[in-house]
Structures are given as C-alpha cells and as structure tokens.
Symmetry: C2
Subunit: 252 residues, 2 copies
C-alpha cells in the first residue's frame, strides 16, 4: 500500500536575520534524531525564511505615498503604511474591497496584501515575502546537502486565501529539486479518452498537507513529507503560476 508520512520538525529556535535556515533545520533534525531520506521533501514556512533574510519592516519607518493614502481612504482607513508596503511589493492591483487589496506581486503571485504578514511579527512590524522564494528553496537544499549529503526537495510555503472558498490553504511559493506540477495532458484514460485539462499542482497539495501539522499555533515551521515519489526536475514556484493568457480572472 502506498503510504506517505508527514512529519513535524519540532524544536526550531526563533529565527533571526542572518540565520541560515538550512543550518537550523539540520540542527533540529539531529536533535530529533531524524535522518533525511533522498526522496524526502522538506516543507518550510515562508515566515522563517523571510525573517532569516531580513524581510522584516518597521511600519513607523514607512512613508506612505499619495497613492497609498488614497487607497487607504477607500478601504476604511486601512493602515496607510501597510498599504504603501503592499504597493511597493506589487506589479498590479487585481481587486480591492473589504479592507483587502488583492495584488499580483513582483514574483507573479496573486494574493491578499502582497503576502505581507502582521501576525507573529511583533507590534508595528510587517514581514514581507522573500525576494526570490526559489532562490531561498535552493539555498536550503544546498545547505542541507552540504551538511547531510542528502538533497531533499524543498518547498517554501505561504498561506493564501482563495476566491469562492472559505478558509486559507498553504501553497508553494518557492520550489527546488523536483517538478512541482504533474502534467497528464495527452495521456489517455482506459477508454481512450484523452485527458485534456489535467495538470496537477502537487507542490501546492504538499504545502497544504504540511500545514496540517504546522498549524497556526503549533509553531512548527518545517515539515518532512516522506514516501512521495516526486518527478525529478529543477523545479520553480513559477511553474505553478497560471499564464495570464490562460486566466479568466485577471484583466489583460
């Protein structure tokens, strides 16, 4: 029987700017007496990656532009310093309403508030997404390999809302070491019917699976998925972005 395990990696310390996330993970693995397997996929929460990479901002240091002040007024006085940061992190606004700004970030991610986090950051502090989540994932992978001689797949995850569905799910914003989508297009079913729209976002499903043990309050920012036979490949979070010409919910 196919059987996967989702293992919480507990005991990671509070992460500080300049820390190596890969190093902290290897140390936690040693403390937990966990030995990585080559097919393991390491799932790391964006929050610790952003903290390590110095992506924390002090809101009082942010000077809102006129555009941010205007948008703030339209959105029931949403904090104009936060609005300014959201605009700086974005290439376009997709929709606004109910104190929320849905944007396309410079990475091409479409999410509320440019993925900027105000919880578990400290009062008046905001945590931005990593500048290049794929590079972050590769960095973790390389550091883990250097120290353990095992190269796991790596996913950097964040928590996103969705149109139409209530509740967030975690998704993959950065990927290294495996193919984050499985493409079944052109394959046929057992009746000879060609599977047309069949690309599976495995990395997003892995991210969501990992969230089940990360939780919001459990303070587990790293998880191992064991037993999944991932498709080899360099991998990139960009593989999970729908091209705009194929998108029915983004104006061109």
């Amino acid at each position: 029987m196919a059987r996967l395990e989702i293992i919480a990696l507990e005991g990671l310390p509070q992460v500080q700017p300049g820390d190596s996330v890969g190093e902290l993970i290897v140390e936690a693995l040693v403390r937990a007496q966990l030995v990585l397997e080559p097919s393991d996929i390491l799932v790391v929460a964006q929050k610790i990656v952003s903290k390590a990479e110095g992506q924390m901002r002090v809101l009082n240091d942010v000077v809102p532009s006129l555009k941010a002040l205007q948008l703030s007024r339209e959105l029931e006085d949403k904090d104009p310093r936060l609005v300014e940061l959201i605009l700086q992190e974005s290439q376009r606004i997709i929709r606004t309403g109910r104190q929320t700004i849905i944007v396309e970030t410079h990475h091409g991610l479409i999410c509320a508030n440019a993925g900027i986090d105000l919880s578990n950051t400290g009062i008046d502090r905001a945590l931005l997404l990593p500048k290049d989540p794929d590079a972050s994932a590769r960095g973790v992978r390389e550091e883990v390999k250097r120290r353990t001689d095992v190269s796991p797949g790596v996913i950097i995850t964040d928590t996103f809302g969705r149109p139409w569905r209530l509740g967030t799910t975690d998704i993959a914003i950065g990927v290294a070491g495996f193919n984050p989508v499985l493409d079944y297009r052109g394959r046929k079913d057992r009746f000879g019917y060609e599977l047309r729209a069949s690309i599976t976002a495995v990395a997003d499903q892995i991210a969501g699976a990992a969230e089940l043990v990360m939780g919001k309050t459990h303070d587990v920012p790293a998880v191992i998925l064991r037993g999944y036979d991932a498709e080899p490949g360099a991998g990139s979070g960009r593989d999970l972005l729908r091209p705009i010409e194929d998108d029915l919910f983004r104006d061109r």
Copy 2:
C-alpha cells in the same frame, strides 16, 4: 513529533450503480488488513460516489436547449450536449472562455463545467457530481460504523482548477463527522496581535494530501488520513463555501 500518515486504500473494485461505497470500502479494508482508528479520516473520490449513486449520463440522450446551443457556438463548438448538462447542474454562470464554463452549481460549488467529468467514464458518457455530497459522506460514515463500529470522519473530494494558479488541487465537496474549517479569529499571537483573517480550510488541505496517493492513474479512489486530531462537529462541505457578500470575485 507530530506525524500523520496518508494511506492508499487499494483494491477497490470498479463501482457500479447501486453499490454501497461504504460497504466496498470496508471490504477493501478487510482485504488490506487495515483496522480503522476512531480518529481516522476517510477520503473518498467523488467519482466512485457518483457512479454508485447513478449519476452517469449518456450524452446521446441529452437534448440541448437553445441556450446550450448558443453557448456552445460562443465556446468554439464545445459539445452542446455537455453544455446542456452543465446548465442543468448550475444556478449561475460565473465566467466563460477558452472552451470552459465556470459556474456555480446547485450545491454552491464554483468550478469548471459544473464538475462534470468525461474522463474514465466511457465514450459519450458524462459523470455528474453527487446530488448531495454531504449526504453521500454521511452515508459512507454510517455504513462504515455499522460494519466496523468505528465512525471515521469522511470527505468526498473532487479535483478543481483555480484562478491564477496552474494545476488542479483536490478539495472537499462533502464532509461528515468533523469540522472542516478551523477558525482562529479572535485568538491572539504571542505579541498580542489579533489574528483577523485566519480560518483554515483543513478539509481542503486533507483532500489535496489524499490526492498525492490517489493520483490520476493510480486508480486509488479512497485514502485514510491517520493521526490528525480533527475538531469534532457534524461538518458540511457548505462550511467551505465563501459567502457571496464576502466574495470579491463573484458579481452580486
């Protein structure tokens, strides 16, 4: 260490109209020598539920309405019989384009083609969603309890596309026996910052996790999630639908 297991339940037979999915699952459990635990969550693919409930339609028996013929013409001659079924299964059209019709089904699910499936159904056959996926989930739960004395949580899953993200993920369309969302609103982080937008769609994350072993070609329509401490509750797939007044991507 928190540790979850995702166990593929192999050896289910091809499902026929009138079959009891709960009964087939119990028989497969026995053959696999798997003993259910009270906290297990049983994840069942919509496809076998719909087949058992007689939701297969022969396309040649469908007479397209004028509206279906018109819409078919607008969508590069998408099969008008399929368009007719989509319209019958829907309460409103959300968007059309690229041979796709995004609708809100009578259940309130927003998805492409009303969730109607043409793959693995046989030529010229279309498989509709179950009429009441929560009732289907409750039915499986009750049948399993009757035969094993264990009442697992049950999720009926389907494979949905998403705006902006490439690749499908499985989500929960029917739920029984546990709370499919975790609501953290009002709780505070360790700095005293109130978590505002924090509802987690755990059942959708479980559905995606299960898909990792279901796969498209693996022919595993039932999966056990073991070790997850679900929040007790009656549960309903409707708990995962975003209310329209809270939705930025649906016109009122």
